[in-house]
Symmetry: C2
Subunit: 407 residues, 2 copies
């Protein structure tokens, strides 16, 4: 069986994702599709717009056969950590032949070449890098120039068509390079494919007809126009969640808790949180005292070095109390796979996984799985404070069984 | 000048309070009235229904000349701690001649006699107490029986009219006894008076015409009927606060934070909070996992020994991180007096206080006062997370100047 993996957040699922799914099936000619999906917290450093269990249904209803969870330690990490976690999790299933991701450039060989250079660091590249650093370039700038020079010198890509700087300026290209880097790092047999995205900017803020960004959809959900940009069942599912006050979930829902933590914690404690460095603990604490709104706080703290999404990821780390001793986990292969949902074909895939996986497969978790799943269960416990009803109970996520989808 | 002090919460101010003010003036024949008022957290273990600055205006508009703050360490304490703090704060002003409080019994000599016995513990009383304890009575029961026997034996009160058990079963009698005990303990020259309350049960839950309990008023604020039970300006002030989303404030506003703390703190940390004893830390943590609503949580944890209000006070201690090392402060004389508001007569009182007070008078606090006022400023910081606008800024309470009231 030819199985393709995709890396998704579906926050929420829209027509661009439907296009990605159909193009992926076409390009990789696969028999089955597995999605590794972020749980309660996503890569932008935000709680997911709707609960992961709802997003699982959206995925299954859109042509995905099996949904597995991207553990939270990776899901709210930098592009590098996110990509490493996603690729490693797919690799750990033991059943994935290909991955296929959207990118702005849509050219796998260009992304592959760059990833190879960054992972293997050939000596000429390293010399360029060293020299640019000596000349006073920042690391990202020196790396870009070194890549450019190395590729030009070795005539590795058709330089008339390709502008390395432009490639590295687009977030989905960067993610794509990170996916390939991860494949190379863990020596995975997974073959990467890419398709050209039909929306260029993933954080475009306005609705743009049939194909809008997830950011635009979240921002404009109360606008009927939004209907156009997503499958009807997704729209209805989200509407239902909104009616039950289980959506939209945003950082705003955790504003009081985050302010409370920042105002009442000493800076020593904050300093111990993942990615809180260089005195950021003081800036965060001060901002929590001088502002009255989470977005105002983020605006006050962000800088060229600490971008808005990085600050948001840090706030999620603070909210989840993810301390620096957990840093290792971001660079380590996952030690479990959690199944969120499947259809009949997905059920076959689970059987296959159980034979081939490199780590335990958790389908119906029980109390004994708590230690293994701890970070995810605890993260859901925090997320659930923004929900209504039974989901608010602690460890509800440990008692949840996967979605079985019959079309 | 004959100055009377009253001990209030005005949560919110209603006709019963207006009656208390006018009767107090009549009974003590005073030239000026000083109220010591709870700040952001009240004795029932709840955040105040409306902001203390609004309640200060209500007090001044109802005939109080000077409002000073009951420090938070006392305001959310047991009856004993609350009473001690309130009486000590009034005493510390150096200008109070009388206090006058409402009680169910309305008979100062009965309350005084009981308070004297409890403070001085005459040897006969102590013998009774010891014997009842030996016979297996609980402390409250042994104390009641010892009091009864001692008073009967010495024919101290007209026993045909007075039932000690009934006296001690009424919360305002108990508070009154505690006020007098505090006067005796600190050897204050303040003379206590009491007036009979016209509402018997202070936690009556239904509106009862002109005179309703504050509990009933809070519970039924959306009911127009409530208008009848309070001065018109109070009703309007609260309506305005509700429109600005600054009221009603309740434990519900701190539900997420309290659940967050309980779920994410280890029991060692919880055990260190004031009044968390006998394994209550485990019960609280478990309840935070098994329930999804703050009132459900309280219901789960409460017992005969840990009553609802006691649990609520403990939750406030958890919210404010008031650890056991602060216990001493509850039994100590206050070390400052914070002025919340005054009218022209109140301004004269402040001048008098500045001459006679036993502790510093803080009228317009500044940065340097933070250490002195820390617990109150920090408590307001937490309270303000339930408010809108500028008040949400940290240490806003340190920058607030008192209300000056011109009728």
């Amino acid at each position: 069986m030819n199985v393709t993996g995709i890396i998704v957040e579906y926050n929420p699922l829209h027509n661009g994702h439907v296009y990605h799914i159909s193009k992926t099936k076409e390009l990789t000619n696969c028999d089955a599709l597995v999605a590794v999906m972020s749980g309660p917290f996503v890569q932008r450093g935000e709680p997911s717009f709707v609960d992961k269990w709802v997003r699982t249904k959206m995925a299954l209803n859109s042509g995905v056969d099996l949904v597995i969870e991207l553990p939270v330690i990776y899901s709210k990490s930098s592009a590098e950590g996110f990509a490493f976690g996603a690729v490693s999790t797919l690799d750990a299933t033991g059943i994935i032949d290909n991955i296929c991701f959207g990118s702005e450039i849509g050219d796998i060989s260009a992304l592959y070449k760059i990833a190879e250079i960054l992972v293997y660091e050939p000596s000429n590249y390293k010399t360029y890098l060293k020299n640019f650093l000596k000349l006073g370039d920042s690391y990202p700038s020196a790396r870009l120039k070194a890549l450019n020079n190395y590729i030009l010198y070795h005539n590795l890509l058709n330089v008339n068509d390709i502008d390395i700087e432009n490639i590295l300026n687009n977030s989905n290209n960067i993610l794509g390079i990170e996916y390939i880097k991860s494949i190379l790092k863990i020596n995975s047999k997974i073959k990467p494919y890419t398709i050209k995205r039909i929306v260029n900017k993933y954080n475009q803020k306005n609705l743009t007809g049939n194909i809008s960004s997830a950011t635009a959809i979240r921002k404009n959900f109360m606008n009927e126009e939004v209907k156009k940009s997503m499958p009807d069942f997704c729209y209805k599912m989200i509407k239902e969640q909104i009616e039950n006050k289980n959506a939209p979930i945003s950082l705003k829902d955790f504003e009081d808790i985050i302010f409370y933590i920042l105002r009442t914690s000493d800076t020593k404690k904050l300093e111990n949180i993942i990615d809180v460095n260089e005195g950021l603990e003081n800036k965060l604490k001060q901002a929590s005292e001088d502002t009255k709104d989470i977005y105002e706080l983020i605006k006050t703290v962000k800088s060229k070095r600490y971008t808005q999404t990085r600050i948001q990821r840090i706030l999620i780390n603070i909210l989840l109390n993810h301390t620096k001793d957990l840093n290792d986990k971001i660079n380590n292969y996952p030690n479990y796979i959690r199944v969120l949902g499947f259809n009949d074909k997905g059920r076959q895939l689970i059987k296959l996984m159980k034979k081939n996986a490199k780590v335990p497969i958790i389908t119906n978790p029980n109390k004994n799985d708590y230690n293994l799943l701890k970070l995810d269960i605890d993260a859901y416990d925090v997320y659930s404070l923004a929900l209504n009803g039974e989901k608010r109970l602690s460890k509800s996520d440990l008692k949840s069984t996967p979605v079985y989808w019959q079309p």
